[in-house]
Structure formats: structure tokens, C-alpha cells
Symmetry: C2
Subunit: 294 residues, 2 copies
Amino acid sequence: MDIKDYLEERIKIVDQALDRFLPSEEKYPQVIYKSMRYSIFAGGKRLRPILVLAGADLFNKDLKGHLPAACALEMIHTYSLIHDDLPAMDDDDYRRGKLTNHKVFGEDIAILAGDALLTLAFEILSREENIRDPLLSIKVIGELSAAAGIAGMIGGQVVDLESEGKGVDRNTLSYIHTHKTGALIRASVRTGGILSRAEDWELKALTQYAEALGLAFQIVDDILDIEGEEEKMGKRRGMDSVQQKVTYPSLYGLSAAREMVQELYNESLRSIEILGDRGNLLKQIAKFLVSRDY
Amino acid sequence: MDIKDYLEERIKIVDQALDRFLPSEEKYPQVIYKSMRYSIFAGGKRLRPILVLAGADLFNKDLKGHLPAACALEMIHTYSLIHDDLPAMDDDDYRRGKLTNHKVFGEDIAILAGDALLTLAFEILSREENIRDPLLSIKVIGELSAAAGIAGMIGGQVVDLESEGKGVDRNTLSYIHTHKTGALIRASVRTGGILSRAEDWELKALTQYAEALGLAFQIVDDILDIEGEEEKMGKRRGMDSVQQKVTYPSLYGLSAAREMVQELYNESLRSIEILGDRGNLLKQIAKFLVSRDY
């Protein structure tokens, strides 16, 4: 199986599920539904849902039981992007080559669309028809809310905002990356395991894999911001430097950053050696993510 | 028992529990914890937690099992106030006589503090030590997320924003009130019942009580905005008119609005007649809320 074909097929499955879980644009008041759908269907890579679904493959479970959590993670990720792009935050006009949510719908609706996506994530996870075992659902809600909250993603965003234009040391940069993007990637992989009733030692391996991969993924983002092709990425290059953001390449240099990606990639592979052949899919996903050019 | 003493004692219990559930201000990054605590402890009436706890009294359950949900509801309520006050929304500088969150911490941190409180609400409900029966916890998460989401509170806020400065008809005004404030009050009363394993007929009575009370509560707010004492309310009078908000008094006239409060109050009492003496506490709470002057 070619990993690109696999990922494309998974993106289709995730997009169809998101379309089912998101209420129709015909509902009243229409503007909020349009705003939520606008950002959800703005062309994301669907990395987090794909990692949740990979957990079903790994343990030979059917995808259907993993889809609500996969979509909930994408909603939380999308809400965080909408709020990050606001004028009071990163003040971005474009994302993935399209106008950001508040540029299309106004700041008020953008804030509420973000709030609504975060809330809908938990609503989907608690809906009777999406629950197979209440205890597993509660565990997933706990995993996602902790990863998205102050000790996770929001904490990372706060430190990121507070650090703009200031000299940031290596510990602070590591905190930002492991929290702002790392926490949700970690939660995605772990959720795939939790829903598959992974044993503790399996979950531990998956967690280590996810932590290494999450950081590698973010450093690749930082590198692409310096040398990526704008057309492929759908955004302008050099924004980190414009926004005076400290990144791995700016703090360690470009070649050291590249080496770190390679090391983290190797670490992600090593972490799941213990899973044997079952880990092959996750290894291919990791390889794809660290060698991507968008 | 005097209802004022009862409510004061309950506020103390809720405040202590909120203090336990909210992480310390000493944690890193401090500013977000300070911002969350600032708005949570800005002097709310704790109506929603009190209604959850009243459900424990009604069914003779101990309060402890209801406290996480009671605090989660206050967190969701507080997040909605922080976001509502933002410049892009209602643009309020003061609430309850204190500067609004964004005036103290900046817009970026205020948005994130709101996000964090909403997320923490679900984290608390899914934490192992707060769960007695996973199925009940999932039901409460479903109740809260539906009430706080697009088909509830957020939907009401969207229509409210879209209606500013426009002529609003009675149906639209009713939609705004039943969704923007009504949905969360309804969820509070229902959560108190759900956690007490109320029977369907009991939950139905509680729901009708909550719907009548929630609307009465909001109309009283509208009336106080016209004739309340600023000092007691901790906010300026006449803001609805300044913000060109259509309210019950502005649409129906002050005396008709007062009559509606009385009718809704009577309806709330009638709804719980079926519960017999067990409903006395809820009746007293309703009486207190419709005759309040702040």
C-alpha cells in the first residue's frame, strides 16, 4: 500500500464523517453553521483524525467506533486555529491559502464558531449513538480536555503569545512546542489506543511515539516556514520571523533543526519497535510527516 | 430556614469547591490561571451551581457527588460572560462593578481564559475521582455540551449579536432569551436531577420548572436594567437601550413584562406541584429570583 493513497482515502473518510457530525448550513442561525463549516472544510491535512484511526488499524478494530473521537479532535484543532488567527492573537489574514474565519465572518462570529466547535467536540463524544462503552468515552473526554486545556494546548498558546518579540530560551521553546501542537497529537495517538482497549505497555509505546513525532512535526513546520514553497503550503513563508517568533531553526540553526527532526523521527520508530509489525503503519505515517514539503 | 441564609451557605460551598477545582495561580504560565480566577471570583450569584445542588437536596443525595457538575456549569457560564464582554462582542468595560477580564488581562488572554474555563468544565466532569457512575457522567456531559453549544447558549448569542440595532420580533426575542440564558439554567436543574437518578416524570417536571424560571429570570434582568439600583446591581442601568438591544420591556412595555414574570413564576410553581413537599426548596428559590433587586 502506498502511504499517500492510504492517507488520501482516510482524509475522504474523515471528511465524510465531519460532514455528518456538523449540522447543516440551513439551520437557524445560519451564519454560525456556515462559519464552522468554512474552517472545518478549509483543506486541513486531517493529521489528528488519521492518527486516531490508525489506532483502530493497529488493533484490528473497525473504524466506525473511532470516528466520533477522530472528528472531535479535528474540531478542537480547528477551533484553536480560528482563535489563534484572531486580531488579538496572531492576527493572520490567510490560512492554507484562504481567508481566515474572522476575515470572512467577522471577529464576533469567529470567536463563537471556535467556541461552538470546541463544545461540539464534547457533545459528539457524549451522544448516546456514538458510545460503545461509557467508561471508554469518559476516558477519551478526559484525554482530550486535558490535552486541549491549560496544562496542554492553551498553556502553549499563552506562553507563545507572552514570548513574542522577547528572547526565548530553549526550555521555553520546548514548552511552547510540546504544548501548543504536541499535546493534541499525543492525545490523538493515545485516543486511538484507548478506544482499542490497548494495554498499558502498548499505550506507553504509543505515547512515546506521539511525543517524538509531535515535536518533529512542529520543527518541520518551522523549517518549512523558512524554506518551503509558498504555493504548496498555501501560506506565506517567513511569517515566524515577521511575527518575531522564536523557532527551532532560529534558536539552533537550520542544520541542527534538521538533525533534530531526524533524531526525533528515529526515536518515534524505536518507541514502537515493541509493537512489532503492527507498528508499520505508524512508522510510514511518521516517515511521511517528517519528509513532507507542505 | 431562611432562603437568604440557605443561598449564602450554598455560595460558600460552591466557592470553596471552585477554589479546589481551579489550579493555583502559582502555576506556569501564571497569567492564564490569574485571568480564569479573576472572573470566576468576581462575585457571581452562583445561580447555576445552586440549582444543581438543589437537585441533590430534592432527592436526598449528598452534595459531594453534585459539586463537580455544579462547578462545571459555573465555569461554562463564566466563560460565556468573558467572551460576551469582548470588544468584538458586547464591548463591556465593567461587569458586577469590576473591570471585565479583557480590560485587566488583554483581549488575547481573555479569549484564552474563556476557552480554558470551557475546556476545564469537561475535564473536571471526566476526571476519575469525580465520577461515581460513568453513564451518569456521560449524560451530564451531553446535557451541558448541548446546552452550551450552537443549539443552545451560543445560538442565542449569535442571534442576539445579529439583532443589535435591528427591529426584533417576539419570536426572535424569545429565541434569544430561551437560548442565551435559558438553556444553561435548564441544564443546571436537569443536571441536578440526572445525577440524582430522577425518574423520567420527575425530570420532566424539573425541566418545565427550569424553562419557566429561566425566562422569568431573564425578564427580571431586563426590567432591572430599566429600574434597578446601579449600586446593588454593580453595573450601569440602561445598557440594553444604549446597545439597542430589544428586551421584553422594550417590546411589550414594562407592566406587561412584569405580568409575564408573575405568570412564569406561577408556571414554575405549578410545574413541580407533582413533586409534593420535595419541591418546596425550588419554589423558594424561584420566589427569591423573581423578586430580587440585583
